[in-house]
Subunit: 133 residues, 2 copies
DNA sequence: CTTGACCTTCCACTAACTAGAACCTTTATG
DNA sequence: CATAAAGGTTCTAGTTAGTGGAAGGTCAAG
């Protein structure tokens, strides 16, 4: 499939996909006309990249995570170690994201939603220990 | 408190905190000697910024989120609308992060952790519909 | 056989930091 | 008191991770 199609399916822009190829994250086959040609497996990798990037992992971290998928030469003890380290990080991110959500939920529930600007917890959130965890 | 202290407490670097001041995200008081002076409330905001940035929100999104905390002039209907939109996004991120975690967990459990490179699901994860969601 | 959508490369620009130089202030120690 | 280390200041330049746009090649439809 062409890059536009892969872009649509993965949630990345075509530009970004080309950029990822430039930096060696994922290289595509080429069709006879010179167009890049993506398989479903490529699309899975791209989608994976889209997600991990949008969740705050750096490109280098994504490179590592991606290698868990595809690097056959890597010894599985190493795979396991990297995966475990990332799991710890993901769990931390999950906790933080949950906390952020809870904070916003309280905000949404406590606000009147009308024109009155006396939303009761805005001040509390900024100044006291609600956020400190 | 000085910037180094605020940096340590917030998880941001002093450089980043100065940068955030440059772009108008959070301006600190100045002590008599010209040093920036941070309150606990500032630290909460910084910590909040650190988290939301690390979870994949852009600086502009963070600016919005932060305004939920501190902008007294904003009408609370607007606050509520923004907060609700962000909640939806956070829920999506939570779902994706959970899925990513589950994927990695399967990987960790299925790998031998020894020297054999025949980790049984690496190939499956890359090529089939496990990731497609 | 041309029009429009899509592809190619390349170069410049933006966003969000990050490193380092040059210099000033505070604090601990001989 | 001197002075050195630690930490603060601004400024300029470099990096990372894209994004926009030009100039041009390819393909399917009318």
């Amino acid at each position: 499939m062409n890059i536009g199609n892969a872009a649509e399916k993965s949630g990345l822009s075509a530009k970004t996909i080309r950029y990822y190829e430039d930096i060696g994250l994922l290289q595509a086959d080429r069709a006879g006309n010179g167009y890049r040609d993506y398989s479903m497996s490529d699309v899975h990798r791209l989608r994976f990249l889209q997600r991990s990037r949008s969740l705050g992992f750096s490109v280098e971290e994504c490179r590592q995570l991606l290698s868990l998928y595809s690097d056959k030469d890597r010894e599985s003890a190493t795979v396991k170690a990297i995966a475990k380290a990332k799991l710890t990080e993901i769990d931390r991110k999950l906790a933080e994201l949950t906390e952020l959500r809870d904070t916003l939920r309280v905000l949404v529930r406590s606000c009147h939603g009308d024109k009155r600007p006396d939303c009761p917890i805005i001040e509390g959130l900024g100044g006291k220990d609600r956020v400190a965890a």
